[in-house]
């Protein structure tokens, strides 16, 4: 296989708070390959956003935190770079499309001006060339009359339009990696599909890899080539999207599937995962998922040992479960048990 664009190894991020240390990300490792779309799934607080923000040095400076591990991007460890060099990489090599487009644009400047700011952050060019480039970018993200949109202010834009503008800013410098952090969460369902189309087109245009952070499995199924499933700061399963959806090998992934509504399915009830995610301040010993896991059945090893992320049969399918082989045969039972609990 080709060299990965981004290679994360044993990344841990912990926050020091007044009441104790929170391990938000715990020894996470995964790769992002050129041109692919990698979905990072997990519920709120699973560490998926913190993982990506910590790479870019974008964790608010007011937070007290410790990072360890390695994140190789084009042969350089992002975690070791001084802030100034990281700033040069941000937006030029790695772009971030934010979660909430409503507040991402400064109300005092025209949208064109702000997209221009993104270009100018990394390229010097004369005013007229800059304007031409911005208009071109606005056209790329699907504005029908980009020239007219240039001089408008953010308050004249709808949420979807603002997200398009943010994507235009993201691809302004042809990055090799785009990180989209829940890019459609704040938008209407009808706009979501359009925005994902724009994001895909932008990715193609820039020949970039896309890391799509989301809790929406539907989006993952549509967009991603590979998936990383995170739970309580750990990667619990990773693999190609078809594999993950057809043959999940971790009870948490299975639980996520079970809690999805299915169009035309004959099941009347959704099957939520019982319980709630662990308190990050006091993670359970052993496997972080065992208190909610239907496969653990009180077995000692789940409570005492953290399962390693290991390969299963097929290439690049990884699961962190002591009983990963049981998941397959027990899938129907597990799903029906979940149904009974609810």
């Amino acid at each position: 296989m080709t060299e990965p664009v981004l290679s994360i190894r044993d990344l841990s991020v912990s926050f020091r708070t007044h009441t104790g240390v929170v391990r938000a990300v715990d020894k996470v490792s995964f790769d992002v390959y050129p041109g692919e779309t990698l979905g990072v799934v997990g519920e709120s607080g699973s560490g998926k956003s913190v993982t990506m923000l910590s790479l870019l040095g974008l964790i608010p400076p007011t937070a007290r935190f410790d990072i360890s591990g390695q994140a190789l991007f084009k042969g350089r460890d992002l975690l070791q770079l001084p802030p100034k060099e990281l700033r040069e990489i941000r937006g030029r090599d790695i772009a971030l499309v934010p979660q909430d487009p409503m507040t991402c644009l400064d109300p005092l400047f025209t949208v064109g001006n702000q997209v221009g700011e993104a270009v100018r952050a990394h390229q010097r060019m004369p005013k007229r060339a800059l304007r031409r480039r911005v208009v071109e970018l606005l056209g790329l993200v699907g504005f029908p009359q980009p020239e007219r949109q240039y001089d408008r202010y953010p308050h004249q834009y709808s949420g979807g339009m603002r997200q398009r503008a943010m994507i235009a800013m993201g691809i302004a410098n042809d990055p090799s990696l785009i990180i989209a952090d829940e890019p459609t969460t704040a938008l209407d369902v009808t706009i979501q599909a359009q925005i994902m189309e724009v994001l895909k087109a932008a990715q193609r245009e820039a020949h970039a890899s896309l890391v799509l952070i989301t809790h929406d499995l539907g989006l993952i199924a549509e967009m991603a080539d590979r998936v990383v499933v995170m739970y309580a700061g750990h990667v619990v399963e990773a693999g190609r999207v078809e594999t993950i959806f057809q043959e999940p090998r971790h009870p948490y992934t299975l639980g996520l599937m079970g809690s999805l509504p299915q169009a035309g399915g004959n099941d009347r009830w959704l099957r939520p995962i019982p319980g709630t995610p662990p308190d990050p301040m006091r993670p359970p010993p052993g496997c972080p998922f065992h208190p909610r896991c239907l496969l653990a059945r009180g077995r000692g090893i789940c409570r005492t040992a953290l399962p390693a992320l290991e390969q299963i049969g097929m290439a690049d399918h990884l699961s962190a479960c002591h009983f990963r082989d049981e998941v397959a045969q027990e899938t129907p039972t597990l799903l029906s048990q979940a149904a009974e609990i609810t």
């Binding site: 941000r90 772009a95 934010p98 308050h155």
Partner: protein, 296 residues
Amino acid sequence: MADLVVPEGDNAVAAPGDPSRLRGLRTLLRNKSAVIGIAILLLFTFLAVAAPLLTPYDPAKQALESAFQRPSAAHPLGTDNLGRDILARIMYGGRYTLMIGILAVSLATVVGVPLGLVSGYFGGWVDMVIQRVADIMLSFNPFLLALLLVAVLGVGLQSVIIAAGIGVVPQFIRLARGQALAVREEIYVQAADSFGASRASILWRHIARNSLTPIVVFATLNIGLTILIAAGLGFLGLGVQPPASEWGTMLGEGREYIFYAAYTSAFPGLAIFLVVLGFNLAGDGLRDALDPSLRA
């Protein structure tokens, strides 16, 4: 690309020619006290500028034979101990007062605001140093601080402007720092950070401009304060020197005759009161007009 096109409905969010700027002006003009304040200021500005056309008297020329005349048709506000027309002196003196107020506050803004913004945005040891200096300055009353500066700089118009301006600098530092701290947390600042804009450009483009509204209001309100400081210095004989007819200086000169000819100090005092009131009313109105959260 056809499916990527923004649908028409999405396009028509706001009509062109957005009236939000006019709305601010209208709110200001609907505010009665603000209009009164602005009217007072316009009146005094007019009197100061057009003084040579409005009065035949020279504000500095002594006419001892007509000293201490009570208000009359010839001298509407009377004459002082040296026979100078008080109305003329107040009109010409307005030039000093308005100039001192505006220049001193400009100085305070130009010095204090950048320091405060840098302090709030960068934080760390820069913030630490700037804030401790501001703390020390704040521990003095603004007037006392101005008094100290005059002691160092000597008397005169220039010193008064610098002294009154520096006297209110720490308040500007604090206000700008607070603004920077708030704006720094805005998502658009984080977004600019995420696409690698430099800190200097974020500070100048986003932090500074979004902090401006309360600073403008605060500056307007502070013109009144600096005028009072300057007048206080003048009253003590440490401000603009006679024969200049700065109002505080006039007040100080009239003090000696307050039981004999109260009008020699009453009218300059009234002028100071009115102009300070004018700036405060205008400042309050400006705040109401510019702060959307106070808008009904």
